[in-house]
């Protein structure tokens, strides 16, 4: 990229950018200082690009010996105050789950990009398949909530990566970006805003200035509200004396077993209580829709086209798009689908992970129709056909 004006921010303007690169640039704009990773198809361009770019911003891009070392290095970097991320694909994610679970437990913020490919196992390495959607929700032992984004364009890969880093800081949790082999390699025009505008959007990592900086998420005794302090930074004045990966109290001290439930509740409710703020959704032609498409990621773009064609034929159909897939916005979905004739869920996987979530919260009278696609994109006609059948 010849247009780099030195450091963290690209010169404002339009760039023809690959998805993986757009995401890496979004991370740099957020103030990324450390990337730890092990190259894997189809995510390799992320580490390639950051190996060039991170030294320019005084950061470090470290290719580790494997995925376990990578994710632990990311966690270590975040512990000492660096905004950190990794990028991998399904097989890498399954290796990294142990550390993700631990990071959730000790509230370490970082961003995790999963450029999904076709599994299970090694699978087909160069084709897209949204088959890690379920794994990200349950990435690791123990109970914890995760936040996962599903972008659908290069511009969104840039923008939502910034949001992901902000969420990591705010909710002190690993945040997932669910890209895929296709999205990661599309080239589209990405509009890079001026540095001042980006900085207004970014939540920086700052050194805590009082004792709350030593605290883990806690319940305020007066208001009973969950308080999520700024992430602690090891080595600074206000930092917990002990960080243990076991159920702990607000000071990081091991909790008696009988209080574990309280600990779990805090870990999970810090996300669940904030679901209205966390969950990002988009509506398209939903006002009078009788048939509702619920989808995320690239299938949404095929759905736009299918809906536009169906609307011309007089079929009342609209789209409810999940920009954040996890936490699943149960209440929003319930409200949107109330009274619908049918729900169509196009997903780039066979089992329909989100379709099952939709089924869970929907009235039994409303049919939920899966439109599975594996290893390739939905053609708009795949979705249109189902819409027309339902509308009959």
């Amino acid at each position: 990229m010849s247009n780099v004006n030195g450091k963290r921010f690209l010169k404002p303007g339009k760039y023809l950018m690959m998805g993986n690169v757009a995401m890496a640039e979004g991370a740099l704009s957020s103030g990324l200082k450390f990337f730890g990773g092990y190259p894997i198809t189809p995510s390799t361009e992320v580490i390639e690009h950051l190996a060039k770019r991170l030294p320019e911003v005084g950061g470090c891009c470290m290719q580790m010996e494997d995925e376990l070392a990578s994710i632990n290095a990311v966690m270590g970097a975040s512990l000492v105050g660096a905004k950190a991320m990794t990028a991998t694909s399904g097989p890498g994610l399954s290796l990294m789950t142990e550390t993700i679970s631990m990071a959730a437990n000790i509230e370490i913020p970082f961003v995790f990009c999963d450029v999904q490919r076709c599994g299970p196992g090694t699978g087909f390495v160069t084709v897209p398949h949204h088959n890690d959607v379920g794994l990200t929700r349950f990435a690791g032992n123990g109970e914890f909530e995760v936040i996962a984004f599903a972008p659908m364009s290069c511009q969104e890969l840039f923008d939502l990566t910034i949001t992901a880093f902000n969420y990591a800081e705010t909710y002190r949790s690993p945040i997932f970006i669910l890209s895929d082999a296709y999205l990661g390699h599309i080239h589209e025009v990405v509009n890079i805003p001026p540095k001042e505008e980006i900085l207004k959007r970014v939540i920086d990592r700052t050194i805590p200035e009082d004792t709350t900086g030593a605290k883990f998420t806690y319940e305020d005794i007066n208001t009973h509200k969950l308080m999520i302090p700024k992430p602690y930074i090891v080595g600074t004045e206000f930092c917990p004396p002990l960080i243990i990966h076991l159920p702990h109290n607000q000071d990081g001290i091991l909790m008696p077993e009988e209080n574990s439930l309280r600990f779990m509740k805090i870990m999970i409710d810090k996300i669940r209580d904030n679901i209205d703020k966390i969950s990002l959704t988009e509506e398209y032609k939903l006002d009078d829709a009788e048939i509702i498409i619920i989808s995320y990621g690239l299938p949404v773009r095929a759905s736009y086209r299918a809906v536009d064609i169906a609307r011309k034929k007089g079929i009342k159909v609209g789209i409810f798009r999940l920009i954040t897939v996890w936490p699943f916005p149960k209440e929003k979905v319930k409200k949107v689908v109330a009274g619908a004739k049918a729900i169509i869920v196009p997903e780039m996987n066979y089992t329909g992970v989100i379709a099952e979530q939709v089924e869970r919260v929907t009235d039994l009278n409303i049919p939920v129709i899966k439109v599975p696609k594996v290893a390739t994109l939905h053609h708009p006609d795949d979705i249109l056909r189902v819409i027309e059948e339902v509308a009959k």
């Binding site: 339009k14 198809t41 390699h185 080239h187 589209e188 773009r301 736009y304 994109l377 708009p380």
Partner: protein, 199 residues
């Protein structure tokens, strides 16, 4: 949405992906239109059957290109290898008067290419001409870019030249400019013939 669909098929190493990126750059960056470029990924991009697609939204009011892949029928289809001729059928090309064109390389397609005669088509020995006129087959790509500039009418000549400057090494710029002009000229001749044929 007013989609313009381009598909380029051939074998890895011909510059298919570069050509698609050049078209995307000229339309998306220079002309500020919405574009989506997608390409073959994996071993095929380095040899064997390879492809690339560009979708350009001619409607300036649009906010986003819906489906990212090129949809049949195409506005422009470029076929550069024998194997790729199999996907050419009458219905894959638009039939409107102002669009729908097949471009093919008669120096790499050696077998019979009957389907081509059923549509507006421009067959030129592109690689051969590149080698004879400019000394290297890689200039075939720039010839094709020159042809595309004329036949798509989406981006101006200035935009095309700016794009070439972005994409080629400066030491080869002069030769690339010649190849571009040569391609442009061939396409203009073709369009004139086409017009005459119609009238």
């Amino acid at each position: 949405m007013n989609r313009y669909e381009i598909r380029i098929v051939g074998y890895g190493g011909q510059g298919i992906i570069t050509l698609s990126k050049m078209i995307a750059y000229a339309s998306g960056i220079c002309e500020e239109l919405l574009v989506t470029q997608t390409e073959a990924y994996g071993a095929q991009a380095r040899g064997g059957r390879s492809w690339a697609e560009v979708v350009i939204d001619l409607d300036r009011e649009s906010k986003q290109i819906d489906y990212p892949k090129a949809l049949k029928p195409f506005d422009l289809l470029v076929i550069l290898s024998d194997a790729a001729t199999k996907e050419v059928k009458k219905e894959v090309i638009k039939k409107e008067e102002n669009t729908g064109l097949l471009i093919w390389d008669s120096s790499t397609i050696l077998g019979k290419f009957r389907a081509a005669s059923k549509m507006k088509n421009l067959g030129l020995p592109i690689q051969k001409m590149a080698l004879e006129k400019f000394g290297n087959i890689v200039y075939g790509n720039t010839i094709l870019f020159g042809i595309s500039t004329v036949v798509t009418k989406i981006f101006s000549e200035e935009s095309a030249i700016e794009t070439i400057k972005q994409f080629v090494p400066s030491s080869t710029l002069e030769k690339n400019m010649e190849a571009f002009k040569f391609g442009k000229q061939k396409a203009e001749e073709f369009l004139t013939q086409l017009k005459e044929g119609m009238s």
